[in-house]
Structures are given as C-alpha cells and as structure tokens.
Symmetry: C2
Subunit: 389 residues, 2 copies
C-alpha cells in the first residue's frame, strides 16, 4: 500500500510570528500567503504501509530521521484518530521518504511544504476525508497554508483545542495569473536560530509583538484580502512590504534580538524601493521570512526589467545562467542607462552576494501522483535512488 504526494511551498504576505499554544501550534494572529507552483519548488513524499516492515522509517533528503519527532507523531496520531478503525494499515509500520526539488542549503522554508506533503500523503493512505489543514498545522504552523493552492488565509481561531485554527482559500491561483515570484537566494554563512526558538523568544520578550498581533494584523488581513480580490497590485505590494518589515522589526525588538536579514537583504530592499521610486509606483514588493533570502512578488510585465536591475546591482560571479536562475526562463535584457543612473554606483561589495534566483508563479495545492514511476520507494520500503551525500 503505497502513496506519493507533492506539496507546495508558500510565502506569507502577512506573517505568522508567535504562538499562543506551543504544542497545538496555535498562532497569535491570522496570516496570509501565496502558494507557489510545485513546478519550481515542492516536496515529494512517498509512504509505504506494510505488514512486513520491521520498523518505522523516515528518510528526508536521503538522511534517516528519528521517528520520535513529536511533531511527526502528532500528525500521525491526528490522522489515525480520524481514520476508519477497521483499516488494516492502522496497525502496520510505515516507510516515509521525502525530498525537496530545491537545494535545502538555500535556507528556504521547507518545513511548510514538508509537513503539508506528509499529511496529504497520510490522508490518502488512511482515506481521510475533509479539511486536513489543522492536521498539517500540528507539523509546522505554516504548513496548514500549503494545503491549498492560490491565496490562503490561516485563521488563528479561538478554540483552545485548535479545531478552528485552519487554513481557508481566499482565491485560486488562476485568479491572478499575472502574478510572479522571484526568490533571491542570498549568500550567508551565519548560524541560524530556528523560527520556533525565535518566535518563542519574541512572545516572551517583545513589547511590540502583542500590539502588532491584536491591533495591526487584523486590519492588514482585511486590506490584503481586498487587494488580492481586486487584483490591486499597488496595495498588495505596500502591505506585503510593510508587513515583512514589521515582522523583522518585532524580531529586532526581541531580547536578545533575532536578526534574520543581513546587509545583502537590506540592499535588496533598497534596490526595490529605488526601482519603485523611479517607476513612481510599487511595481515590485519584497517579503523576507526567517532568513536572509528575499521573495519578490511582482507582475509578469516587470520580470525582465527587474532581472536586468538585479544583475546590475548584484553582479553574479558565475557565467552559467543555467545554474544561476531556475524555474521560468527570463529574457536577459540590458539595463537602460536611465535606470542604471538611479542605482548606487558602488556595487563592488555586492559581487556574488546572490547565490541564485528562482522564478515561479502562484500555483495549486498538494496532489497525489498515481503513476508507479512517481514513487520514491520500492515495495520493500527502500528508496529507489541512492543518496550520495
């Protein structure tokens, strides 16, 4: 009995930061994200349930993981409690094999896609019907948003048991087909603290966080939903940037402070504002998660030009464009002299500051793959491919 699912990454435009319940993963505010196409970035997970498996196995990107991870066990337990008690596979061991189609070294949030994919595959395996976003939430908070495609709101809910802390689709991917996403992967050697640690510390020490969560975010959620439904890019861009900045402001207000953006991240912010000022309109917006990488939301009409700007401000050190940009191809146009003149001349310290770029769109939610070729495991529960590193 084998199932394989793929699930997407999502990038929040109204950020989730702070839990009111650590175990149930209940947030202190609503959040809202775009689900990215699985073509460029996704997690794929195959699960085999078999009476012949001697033990539970969990392989993530080829590395054996402990099955005693409480978040994994919470997801499994919630799934099993919803299944028909007569299912034989409820008593069998599992072999789980999961991998990302994007480099994990990039520091791109992969736990959302990972847990959404795991829960989606488990739901197929145990024949669960109905909304599974609250189950995915037990794995990683933002994973609940990756259960749906398009634009997705995570409603914080008010129940102490978390049953109403679920994701809700706002608009499908097809609603705003012009929307593009450019991810700028920033070179950075700093050791990171996990977002779990960071948000715990923020809840305990930031005096601004509660005000943000209770007074500011509810209004932003409404304004953002309207901007998306009206396809009002100007408002969308402004709210996205403001919320990203405010999230990092709260991280800085934490004690000791959590600093996820670095000088390159701030140089990207500066580049976006300089470009928008030149255009006299918010043509590009940025959102930064708990790391230095930038996620730019923009419309397709702007992609070629902003790419030429990026190449001017952050000259790549590699001449292999195939390595440097993945996803949807971009036409590499020369930057106009007029546009060049508005950017800082001193780019010497920005050579090689970007590792690579991913160009993608808003996409659909998780899906089950039905071709046997898609499975990552053989019938013995062992991975088909060999993992070298």
């Amino acid at each position: 009995m084998m199932v394989t699912s793929v699930a997407p990454v999502n990038i929040a435009v109204i950020k989730y930061w702070g839990k009111r319940d650590e175990d149930l993963i209940l947030p202190i505010n609503d959040s809202l994200s775009g689900t990215l196409s699985v073509d460029a970035m996704c997690t794929k997970t195959t699960i085999l349930a078999s009476s012949t498996l001697k033990e539970n196995i969990f392989l993530l990107n080829g590395k054996k993981q402990s099955f005693e991870n409480p978040r994994l066990l919470n997801c499994l337990q919630e799934i099993r409690s919803r299944a028909n008690p007569g299912l034989p596979q409820l008593n069998w061991n599992l072999s789980i094999c999961s991998e990302n189609n994007f480099p994990t070294a990039a520091g791109l949030a992969s736990s959302a896609a990972g847990y959404a994919c795991l829960v989606h595959a488990l739901a197929a395996l145990f024949q669960i019907e109905g909304d599974i976003s609250a189950i995915a939430r037990r794995g990683s908070g933002s994973a609940c948003r990756s259960i749906f495609g398009g634009w997705v709101q995570w409603c914080m809910g008010s129940s102490p048991t978390g049953e109403d802390s679920i994701a809700r689709p706002i608009a499908p991917a097809s609603h705003w087909p012009e929307m593009r996403v450019l991810i700028l992967v920033v070179d950075d050697q700093k050791k990171k603290y996990s977002s779990t640690t960071g948000m715990q510390r923020s809840v305990e020490t930031s005096k601004l966080l509660e005000y943000r969560a209770t007074e500011i975010v509810p209004k932003k959620i409404e304004a953002m939903k309207e901007a998306i439904l009206m396809k009002d890019f100007e408002s969308f861009a402004r709210i996205t940037m403001e919320d990203s900045n405010q999230f990092h402001a709260v991280c800085l207000d934490t004690f000791p402070p959590c600093v996820y953006m670095n000088d390159t991240s701030h140089a990207i912010v500066n580049m976006v504002h300089t470009y928008n000022k030149f255009k006299n309109s918010s043509k590009v917006s940025y959102a930064f998660d708990a790391g230095p990488n930038a996620c730019l939301y923009l419309l397709d009409s702007v992609v070629d030009e902003i790419f030429s700007v990026i190449n001017y401000v952050f000259p790549p050190v590699t001449s292999h464009q195939a390595d440097y940009i993945t996803g949807i191809p971009i036409t590499r146009e020369p930057i106009s002299e007029e546009l060049k003149s508005v950017f800082e001349h001193n780019v010497l310290d920005k050579y090689g500051a970007l590792r690579y770029l991913i160009h993608t769109t808003i996409g659909d939610g998780p899906k089950t793959l039905n071709s046997p070729d898609d499975h990552l495991l053989n019938l013995n529960g062992l991975p088909k491919r060999s993992y070298d590193d």
Copy 2:
C-alpha cells in the same frame, strides 16, 4: 568680546525618536542619556561679537557654513530675546568657529555637542541666566541633554510652545564613577539618511512608534531612573539594550525602512550577548544611534577583558594601537582560552570591521574656557589655525 565653550557628546540609553512639532523640536517621548567626558570627545566653540565685523561668519571644522540655517537662527533669536535689550553686542555681527576633537568622518552624532556648545557660548556672550536647555533643543533635539553632565532626562513636556520641553539632570557624573563607555567605530560606506528625515518618516508611517512612545517609554524612563539611582548595572544594561533594539525596530517598521545598523553592528550585539551569557550576567550593554557605531556601557572592572574579546572577534588590521584606541588607556590582556571557546570561530570576514575605539567615562556639562590661549579665533574674527582639508 570673545567667549569660548566646550560641550560634551551624550549617548541616549532611552532613545528620542519622533517629533510632535518639527519647528520647535518637541519630541513624542521623554529620553534619557549619559553625558560623556569632554576629555575624549567634545565640541569647542569660540564666538567673537564685534562692531567691526562686516558680516556674520560660521566656520565648522574649518568649513564655512551658511548663517541662514534656520536652526542656528532659531537658537540666536531665542538667546537674543532673553538678553538685556541694552547690550551693545546685540547689534553686532558674530564670528563663530566650532570644531570637534574627534573625527567627524566617524559618523558619531556631533550635532548634540555642537548646538549645546553654540548655545552655551552664546549664553555667555549675551549674559543669559537660567536654564538654556530649551534653547539648545531648538538647534538639535538631543543637544538639550548635553547642557548637563552626568545622567540627564529630556522631559518631553506638554506645552505647545515647548517651554516645558527641557533637560533635567538625574544624577551627576560623580554618582557612578565606575561607569565606562567604549565606542566602537564601524567601517561603513553606506550613504546615510539624516535622523531628521528618518524620524519624520517613522512618525508618518510606523504603526509601532506611537505605541512605543505612549505605552512603553514612560515605564522604561522610570525603570531606568531607578536603575541609575540605585547603580543597578544589571537593570541598566537590560533596559539600555532593549531600548536600543526597540528604537531600531521602529526604524525598520518605517516605510521605506530606515536601516542604520549593519552586519558588523549586529555582530557586536551578538558578541555582547555571548559574553554576558558566558558571565551569566549583563556585564556589558550596547546602544546604537542612527548609524552603525556601537556605544558600549560597562563598568571599569570589565573593560580590560571585553577589550580582549573585541580584539579576538574583530581583529584590527592596524598594528598601531595608538591610532586604534583613543581616550583612557586600556591594558591589552590576552583572551583566556575558556572565553575564546564561546565565540564564533569564523572571524575572517570581521578583519578590519572596526575602524577604531574610544574609551571614556561619564562627564560634566559644558564649560567656559577663560584662558586667551583657548580661543579658536583671533581678534579679527579669523581662525588662529589653518584648516588644510
């Protein structure tokens, strides 16, 4: 008729950020600072009033400045309106010569010392009695705090005319003689936006600033006053660091964001927290103004050790210690192996990240210098020394 004053720099431990009146320079919250000794850092200003001067002249660090600067004119007007109308010098032109004894290139806030010194010298020239902090405030908000030595509160006041927006001494320099200040001047080529521009933008766009100003700062001011009066370094350090972080958080919550700290600044923050964690106590605290330089407040017993830590984490590129550290001499001890082990090993990118250090104490307020040798001008109102650059 010639007077010469010197006035100190001050470094806020509860930050001033945001005006409720741009012209009168009235703040949206109280602030509190330590006044630094004039031995290491000060502004010196000589003013000549003479009936033979053909025009008003203002030289700052050897460079001619416009006399039409509204802040300068506001200070002059306030001083003149308080003077005895019969004074002959009220009708004479002025030659003003001002210089800092620390490199202006350092990006250290010099306007506070500059305007405090100007107003102090003008008050002497026009024989003004009583508190002049509200006059210094018209030059630069934080200048009002440099009118007093030791620990100084700037009370925001409530009058629309600003008459109660004045500085008030909390404790003299002699109250806490163990207190030391280490300024770490960070290498940085970024173009800066002035704090005037930054705070205007914060008032207009940050949704967190008002909450900070009205709900958080008043409590912090009381807690900080108590910490200073009780010489409770642990509390002093914690509040200082939290307030510096919150000030920069509000800057980041501004749209477009104001980013004053850079990767080196954050590496200093990280060094301080690592050291304090090792000591299991807040032995060192940091405060960052609108720039990347760190101001460390610490007690004298810690100076030698933290200097060895700084040299380990940020290896200086110069071998000339005389250039690298100014102010009170520090014993250069080797760092202990135990202490070394808690800091990040990868320091390669931090070579030369610090330009130089200033070691100083809390000191007294402005004073008049009475020896003719102290004057920067000759009797013709021309500078005695030649300025080459």
